[in-house]
Symmetry: none
Subunit: 204 residues, 4 copies
DNA sequence: CATGAATGAGAATTCATTCAT
DNA sequence: AATGAATGAATTCTCATTCAT
């Protein structure tokens, strides 16, 4: 067919990206099969190459799209009154994204956890807006005396993001048993702010 | 039975496993090349099939071996006087293992972080002895009032292990920049026990 | 009939043929890309199939057109007074064609030199007018005693054409270094008439 | 199978090269099919990659082998008493090679005639020994006054080789009709030394 | 046991061609 | 007529696995 208009073309691209995200989430990059992705998207195998020049490029697009989707939510985020509330609101928003775009988010987390320097750097870079939001919250928290000023906020933000990813990993790895998605906001923020130690045991 | 005693056979197997660990750590499972592993171990291509029936089986053996190596150290571990000291001693021991068996540990962590239910469960199961040690420390910490009794110790132990893995991921993903292996024990225990918050009245 | 007159249609066809000639000259038949040809001609991918039913047919048309262009010049050719002058005039005209229609001529020569019986015969047949001109010159040369009557003129003409093609091949193969196009007329005629030998008694 | 000894391995390589030569001679480089070559050599398709890392490399090997075979004959060549006899002896030897190794020689000539600068240079380089033999004959001919000293011997040698190739092209292009292989030595040397002009017509 | 040549299923990618618009 | 999205056959190349020696 031809002359389907930019709408249809964009739509086809979306379908392909969606299928690719699901497939990459299930199999990982190396084990993924480009033909299968095209088929799963309802196209013949060659068609996908009208949209993405190679498997690697397709994967990069999925990753970018995942980052884009994850990040664009945080623009509209309301800040809570305390650090704890702000962080929980942020994580609730993230969990909502994960619920809706599970495939994309799985790819993202899996790749972030694969510690290949190249993709690790890429993902950090693409996450910059998200990290910036976290940073801002933490900085305000430090000003208010709610966050210990021991570590630089940027590093704390990376740790917070890692902790969040870790809980997703445990969620998916346990097939949803523990933690449930709903528990994650409180869990991750509690863990991050309070740790597991009792107050009196704290290192002075 | 054969011209080589069981000692030689065991030795060949060990060399193959070691080479396989290094190779899997560098390339991941899918991109790994069985022939290359055999060659790197100093054998010809076919020989590896005298010891492992398939690539998947070889990988499983590497994983098991990694678990075994990771775990066997903790049997002899001295317990510190406080929860913090005990945990730090444990992590220092783990870091020592990671330093010596980096290839095996990379495979292990990567696989643990890939949230495929099967391997995730397998790894948890194989880590049972390690988790038991952590559990014990935490339980004693609870008795002493050093650990908040909010969460069950088993779950806390899994989280602790996850946190530790997360720091390894960040270490390898940043190509060793941050955190350095030496920093990890204090970092992970600090994070786990104290969190990042500076709540009122906590700090004495 | 249609919105474009036959003139426009012919023009489109010409553009396509020209682009195809250039592309085939650069890449050869097998490595040529029909889509790229259409694009280079300023059309979209599918359009070329409104003019040529297949890649092979397109190539055949380019070949025919090349023959046509190569041959049509010689109709108006002035004959020199001697065999040597006549042949040199002919080759100068041919070199002029090659200069102007380099793409078509490259395709033609490459195909002629690929010794596939079918195309070889086809090209000879299409070159009949050209060969006829050469033949006529040679026959007159024989009458005048300027050409040895040992070989039949038709065969000599084919050899002459081959020699000319050979020099083009060397020209293009050496990236224009040797021989230069300008040198070719004297070179080919000198080679053809005189050879490289300096037999006794010949040189006056 | 394994452990077939270097003999079998060399033999397999030879079979593959032979099949490749035939295939490339029939189809040319681009249209050639590596699977088909392996099959024609009596192997499964993957096997050929145990011997040659890529299609291009296989082709280069065929070309090298063709050059090698063509050249090694001339080492043992007897020189005739005159330039004409020496050249005819050389060409007779070359024709003998062509007869025995037709596939390799076709590839060689086809490629030499495709005026791609890269292969053109390669072939000239590989033909250096052959060209050296021709050069030597021509230089002695010049000393004896049998060759006009107008052009440098190296350039004459290239032309001679081109002329010879041209006749092969006409032989194969005409499906063996004209010239026959047997006629080529006398034809090419006659053409090269004497040209087609009558003596009295010679440019003084 | 060790070897390494042979195998063939499978994957990525290309591109001539079709055809609905 | 022009367009360009879709198609799927075909091709190159990889590599886990087998097995004769």
């Amino acid at each position: 067919m031809a002359r389907v208009g930019p709408k249809a073309k964009t739509d086809a691209r979306r379908r392909l990206l969606q299928a690719a995200a699901g497939h990459f989430a299930r199999h990982g990059y190396e084990a993924a099969n480009v033909n299968a992705i095209a088929l799963e998207a309802g196209f013949a195998k060659g068609t996908i190459y009208n949209y993405f020049p190679s498997k690697r490029e397709l994967f990069a697009e999925v990753l970018s799209e995942a980052c884009r989707r994850a990040v664009e939510r945080y623009a509209t985020l309301e800040h809570g009154t305390s650090t704890r509330e702000s962080l929980e609101a942020l994580v609730r928003a993230d969990v909502a994204v994960v619920r809706e775009e599970e495939a994309f988010m799985k790819v993202l987390v899996r790749e972030a956890m694969s510690f290949r320097s190249e993709t690790y750097a890429l993902i950090l870079e693409r996450h910059a807006p998200f990290l910036a939001v976290i940073c801002e919250i933490l900085e305000r928290g430090m000003e208010r005396g709610e966050i210990r000023p021991k570590d630089p906020p940027a590093r704390l933000a990376v740790t917070f993001l890692g902790l969040l990813s870790l809980l997703y990993v445990q969620h998916w790895g346990s097939a949803g048993v523990w933690p449930a998605l709903d528990e994650i906001p409180e869990l991750v923020v509690g863990m991050f702010l309070d740790g597991a130690g009792a107050e009196k045991g704290r290192r002075s």
